[in-house]
Amino acid sequence: MTLSNPVPPGEGGADDLSVESATVAATARSPWYLRLPVVSHLRRSVGLQRGMLVTGLVLVIGLLLTALFAPLLAPYGFADTGVDGVKFGGQQPPSAEHLLGTTVTGFDVLSRVIWGTRTAVAVMVCAVVASLFLGVALGLLSGYVGGWLDRVLVMLADAIYAFPSLLLAIVMSIVISGGQSGAWGGILAAAISITVVFVPQYFRVIRAEVVRLKAEPFVEAAKVIGTGHRRVMGTHLLRNSTRTLPLIFTLNSSEAILTLAALGFLGFGIEPTSASEWGYDLNRAMSDATSGIWWTGMFPGLAIVAAVLGVTLVGESINDLNDPRLRTRKKRSRAQKKVAA
């Protein structure tokens, strides 16, 4: 395992190692794609954990595929209220033409749910990537440089962190878009609003790790031999402080979807004619529910649940599998049970 790591994943490396003992050969022979993060986790998982991971993966892949092929899957456009001049009609119950019915404004619910995956995925990716880079960079800098910069940044991050994230996102969306906006404007506004909420989380985690690592002998050694600040930060500190990132990363992805939906629900999202957004649809469905019309709210809501659930399950499982205590203890207890049986 350790031997194969420095060797670039190619045939040469695998051939050399195939003469090793059986277990080593088994891991070494496994091609590079089996050693990718999620795939290797899947191989390591057992029982309930594997079930959770697989369910999560299925949901996430489903979400991504739906987003990718939305134009092919959706029977109508997200802002279509009729076809060839014939109106769909508002609040139609599910039927052959409209599998999930139509909304009060006469949109096809199924089409809006399908197109909504695009908005959700776009916001999720933008928000998480932006906050990851910003938060990690600030955390590294703050932890490494220390002093006044560190104090000010920590103060700011703590203040923002203590603040209800939804309120902050609302304030940010007012600032960025003044409320309603078009497709990309709205997606970016939502993504930036969410980024502001997330940056402190990455910042805190990375900074705490960097402060701890800074005192480690290997960092001091690097400094002694004259390594530049940038290299110490980029190599020695960054690589060692990213352990917990995958968990925050997935948690934030799911939170991004929830925040986007919440903003939309409160009427601070994207205009319904420029992109489909589940939160907005749920907002419009609230009054329908009172009169017993369930299909307008049920399906966008289920879409949110499925998307968040998928991402959360993947994150949780990877976190459990990465935690050596949780993992080994599980396996040992299993092994003991087998022995007893």
């Binding site: 700011l156 703590d158 203040a159 203590a162 939804l166 409320g179 939906a261 409160l266 009172t290």
Partner: protein, 364 residues
């Protein structure tokens, strides 16, 4: 875990080994004082950030009335309200006002924001208290069950339930509850805090409090009490589910830890019953993290309250916030946001103090 802990570390020079020893023993009073003083910069930073953010896009009057008035009229209104002054002057003016408890005047209905806060704050408080009760009543026992049945089917089911609770947005839970219990079964009211008839009876009470349940108790009328309680059930569940799921997971993880401790084995060997082991010996230490996480939960619950109140037309701060946002009344929005920030900062302080009282390791 809490903000208090992390900020506290900042104030001491980096010598982790020496720090706890130097301040060990007592120091609770000092800790509380330092922790209390730390509220001030937090609130101050938030106010500054929110104030300048809200002004980047322009003044509240243009936001509320832009397009409806001629530029001249607009300029006149702005001058009247003092929005033509330099931003920094406005900022200090605002800060001065806040120090005197004056959060500004809402633009659409000309109500002082402080009055909005006292009128509607109580409703939000009531809702959050109910939700915390729901979360504790549901989360703690279920977490105990999950920990006791670790890796067997009840645990698996409960873990999935907890994740589902997290994955379902408050307003969707609200929608489902409404569909089932209000529209479908007709057991509970769809929205609001009280029925119109109940409100009329309630109007007879002298100096009413913002808490309907208290007022109903004071009235001593069973029908009003049931009315108020009935209206509270669905919103409390909708908001409580999310936090309940988090409590469930916390209790589970921590109890799994404490159940493996040696003192549990020793208690068991002394003949302590399994039930008592679970509910007392293992549960108590597992509850400490709940107290600390509670601080963060309050911030999250206030965010959730905004959504719950909008879903159930519960006349609280969150509902008003959404209404003022729709009206683009950014003075009121800013005021409510600030107030909520103060509440969060204060409750974090209380939670940290409680945590320090329970667990001496928290203080330095």
């Amino acid at each position: 875990m809490t903000t208090g802990l992390d900020t506290e570390v900042e104030n001491t020079p980096a010598s982790p080994a020496a720090r706890p020893r130097r301040r060990a023993g007592g120091g609770l009073g000092r800790y509380i004082l330092v922790r209390f003083l730390l509220i001030i910069p937090t609130v101050f930073i938030l106010m500054t950030v929110v104030f300048f953010l809200m002004r980047i896009t322009g003044d509240p009057i243009t936001a509320a009335l832009g397009g409806r008035l001629t530029p001249d009229q607009l300029a006149q209104r702005r001058a009247e309200a003092g929005y033509d002054r330099p931003l920094i002057v406005q900022y200090f003016d605002y800060l001065g006002g806040v120090l005197h408890g004056d959060f500004g005047m809402s633009y659409t209905d000309r109500t002082p924001v402080s009055e909005i806060l006292t009128t509607y704050g109580g409703a939000t408080f009531e809702l959050v208290v109910y939700a915390v009760v729901v979360a504790l009543v549901a989360g703690v026992p279920l977490g105990m069950i999950a920990a006791r049945t670790r890796d067997r089917w009840p645990d698996a089911v409960l873990r999935v339930v907890a994740i589902l609770g997290y994955a379902t947005p408050v307003f969707f839970v609200g929608l489902l509850l409404k569909l089932v219990f209000s529209v479908g079964l007709g057991w509970l009211p769809v929205a609001g805090r009280i029925s119109t008839r109940g409100e009329l009876t309630m109007g007879t009470i002298l100096n009413p409090s913002p808490f309907y349940l208290l007022d109903a108790l004071r009235l001593g009328r069973m029908d009003v009490l049931m009315d108020v309680a009935g209206h509270a059930v669905l919103p409390a569940i909708a908001l409580g589910v999310l936090t309940g799921g988090i409590f469930l997971r916390l209790v589970r993880t921590n109890m799994i830890g404490t159940l493996e401790m040696q003192y549990i084995d020793s208690a068991r060997s002394r003949g302590v019953s399994e039930a008592r082991l679970t509910t007392r010996h293992a549960l108590r230490p597992a509850l400490i993290p709940i107290v600390t996480v509670m601080g963060m939960q309050i911030a999250m619950m206030l965010g959730g309250a905004v959504l719950t109140e909008t879903t159930f037309e519960w006349n609280g701060l969150g509902y008003m916030l959404a209404e003022y946002m729709k009206a683009r009344d950014y003075v009121a929005v800013q005021g409510i946001v600030m107030m909520l920030a103060v509440i969060v900062a204060l409750s974090n302080f209380v939670v940290d103090v409680v945590a320090a009282l329970i667990d001496p390791r928290v203080r330095y």
